[in-house]
Subunit: 98 residues, 2 copies
């Protein structure tokens, strides 16, 4: 019997990335701080995983200023949303045994 683990997306092989995508599917735009607090992470840990998701084209970073204060927000791209849904479907299939 074959178990199709290669249909699981390597970009989501980490719980921080699963968490980031779960938040960004439930919320259109999320600030760095809100994301950090929602997932209970350090700055560095969140930044490195978000950077990986950005590089994969799954997350879009918006750097803006509110007055003189920088405000960075994140959102999932259409490609990211589709890839995450595919990953979840593959995971479900794997766990059903195949």
């Amino acid at each position: 019997m074959k178990y199709a683990i290669h249909t699981l997306n390597k970009a989501f092989d980490h719980r921080v990335r699963l968490g980031v995508m779960a938040v960004l599917l439930a919320n259109e735009q999320v600030s760095f701080n809100d994301l950090k607090e929602s997932l209970d992470l350090t700055d560095g840990n969140l930044a490195s995983h978000v950077a990986a998701l950005e590089k994969a084209g799954y997350v879009l970073v918006n750097k803006q200023f509110i007055g003189k204060k920088p405000n960075t927000t994140y959102q999932a791209t259409a490609e990211g949303k589709a890839a995450f849904q595919e990953h979840l479907a593959a995971l479900e299939k794997l766990l059903r045994g195949g």
Copy 2:
């Protein structure tokens, strides 16, 4: 809103390990070769992830001989089965948003 990614088990942060556990939950004892073929992996890739699961106490390795031929089989421990089920429940909870 809090997303409890820290309830996800770090030991399962890789698709190969998810695959190994899925196979070992569906089958009591599986040989190295059957596991390798089921998951379509190289020897080295499978060996390193199985070793990590063994170290975590989630997989038991049985080394036997059939005649003079070595036959290594794997099975999930009770602890491994429980940890994997908990991981899946945590994952489901995360994806429902919390």
